[in-house]
């Protein structure tokens, strides 16, 4: 097998993984951007999205629905549920802490994460469950067939579309503008007429929706889930968000990809023993030279 081909395989493998990271990272970055909170429960939302999808797909499957119909119904329901969870978590665990010391919501988030994990553990199961492949299968042209699978193509394309959508939403809509203003100064945003509570809720809803999409995509691709998948994915996605510059939406995307590639290439050309070591070492290196992440802005506070 050619070196080039191997390189491409590794490259696309990293791209797929990176796209997933990016989708989850967006949730972290948006929430962080707006309320400066590292939402440790975000990984759990991703997991809940995947679980809901599994349940819905299971029910629909038992009704004998065709594959594409299952996907078309499952994805929106998973997204709705994940958003509802994100929304509720914010209302319960973070909103009462708006004026609390900065680290308090962080601890509340950690507690929430433990809670949600065990909720799924108790209400469903600790076991790994097979996840049906919901992604459409299509034949790829021969020259890429050996390198890529159709689900990878689906993942990358979906992620790209979603991110493009989000970017334009933030850039061009009123709500996006309100989000940016809220992120910078909540009090002032209120004083120009932004409904800050609503904006924060919306941020959680969008972030959770993206995580659910990521959850459904990757669960279909990998074919299994359990209650703990959110934790590792969450840490990685958070790393990606910081790598790209936390608070920055394009940064999260770039960070996700860079992280995905780093891990992929580290495995491919060095050793997967130290895959994570490479990922974190890269993070440290990048932050040493760009203290605010790749696309993060050093803050323009004046003295």
């Amino acid at each position: 097998m050619g070196r080039m081909e191997y390189f491409l395989e590794i490259f696309f493998g990293g791209l797929t993984r990176g796209s997933i990271y990016a989708l989850i990272a967006l949730g972290y970055t948006m929430v962080y951007g707006i309320i400066q909170l590292i939402n440790f429960a975000h990984g759990e939302i991703y997991m809940i999205g995947a679980f809901t999808a599994l349940i819905v797909a299971g029910v629909l499957g038992s009704l004998g629905m065709p594959g594409y119909a299952i996907l078309l119904l499952t994805l929106p329901i998973a997204v709705i549920y994940a958003s509802a969870y994100g929304f509720t978590v914010e209302k319960i665990a973070y909103k009462p802490l708006r004026s609390a010391p900065r680290l308090s919501p962080l601890i509340s988030a950690i507690g929430m994460s433990i809670f949600l994990q065990n909720y799924i553990l108790l209400a469903q199961t600790a076991d790994f469950l097979p996840f049906p492949n919901l992604l459409p299968y299509f034949d790829l042209p021969d020259f890429v067939g050996g390198i890529l699978t159709s689900s990878e193509v689906t993942i990358v394309i979906t992620a790209a579309l979603v991110m493009a959508g989000l970017t334009s939403f933030i850039k061009f809509t009123r709500m996006g503008k309100a989000m940016r203003a809220t992120a910078q100064n909540q009090r002032m945003a209120m004083l120009v007429g932004v409904n800050v509570d609503q904006v924060i809720s919306l941020t959680f809803i969008i972030g959770s929706a993206l995580a659910a999409i990521g959850g459904v995509l990757i669960a279909s691709h990998i074919g299994q889930i359990n209650f703990y998948i959110g934790f590792i994915a969450g840490i990685k996605a958070f790393t990606a968000a910081v790598l790209g510059g936390i608070g920055s939406v394009p940064g999260a995307m770039l960070g996700g990809l860079v992280l995905g590639w780093t891990e992929s290439f580290a495995t491919g050309y060095v050793s997967s023993d130290y895959e994570d070591v490479f990922a974190f070492a890269l993070l440290v290196l990048i932050l040493i030279f760009r203290p605010a992440g790749i696309l993060g802005k050093a803050d323009s506070q004046k003295v």
């Binding site: 009123r174 503008k177 309100a178 940016r180 203003a181 910078q184 100064n185 009090r187 002032m188 945003a189 209120m190 004083l191 120009v192 007429g193 932004v194 409904n195 800050v196 802005k297 803050d299 323009s300 506070q301 004046k302």
Partner: protein, 235 residues
């Protein structure tokens, strides 16, 4: 237009305002003067819904606005130049102004108003693509005023607009306040340390000490008042 009736307010356990009564007529410029920490800012915060009064009531055109969140009050036509300016630091000057018009839908009008404030403060036009956070103190103050104007308010609350401005600009700003008041009939509620100038442009004035209104009269009378002269005018 605006009426405060026996308002008590404060932060958490700390009481600041005690039975404050004030009235602002339509199209009027009134000014609230007082020493540092008297509670002037707190009064404005109570009016714009950022601090909930503990007792008493606040009426806007006869309707109680207590408990209405700040963002809804903007829709009702209250706009503010807050203490500390609160510029959006990473938005550019132009975007900051745009945010000022957040609730407005008339693109044309917004555009015109941006040109209008650039006319008022040409230096902002020069800095229009610079992030707000990097402006000098005075430039930020101009931006904050412009941003408040962008909302086309009926009632404009100004918290020490002359703070940190060059003398020439201060005069200019007071002129602009008068101009806004005259041209568009905007009611103006001005909080100032610079009592001298404030009283010169205001119709009426209130004096606040330790959260209590101790004196109210027409601006001209206050300028002549011996106590006021001693305490606030430095004469």
């Amino acid at each position: 237009m605006l009426k405060l009736i026996d308002v008590d307010a404060g932060y958490g356990p700390i009481p600041v305002l005690h039975a404050v009564n004030m009235e602002v007529g339509k199209g009027e410029i009134i000014t609230l003067i007082g020493a540092n920490g008297a509670g002037k800012t707190t009064t404005l915060m109570a009016v714009c819904g950022m601090v909930a009064p503990r007792k008493g009531d606040i009426l806007l055109e006869g309707i109680s606005i207590c408990g209405i969140p700040a963002n809804r009050l903007v829709e009702l036509g209250i706009s503010q130049v807050p203490e500390g300016r609160l510029i959006f630091p990473d938005l550019t000057v132009a975007e900051n102004l745009d945010m000022g018009a957040f609730l407005r839908k008339d693109r044309e009008g917004i555009h015109q108003d941006i040109e209008y404030v650039f006319d008022l403060f040409p230096i902002l036009a020069d800095r229009r693509h610079q992030p707000g956070g990097t402006l000098s103190g005075g430039e930020q103050q101009m931006l904050a005023i412009s941003r408040a104007i962008m909302a086309r308010p009926r009632l404009l609350l100004l918290d020490e607009p002359s703070l940190g401005l060059a003398p020439m600009i201060i005069r200019q700003i007071f002129d602009i306040i008068v101009k806004i008041n005259r041209e568009s009939g905007t009611t103006i509620f001005l909080v100032e340390q610079n009592a001298n100038q404030a009283l010169k442009i205001a119709h009426r004035g209130y004096v606040m000490e330790n959260g209590v209104i101790t004196l109210t009269d027409t601006a001209a009378n206050l300028l002549d008042n011996e106590d006021v002269k001693k305490a606030y005018l430095g004469i």
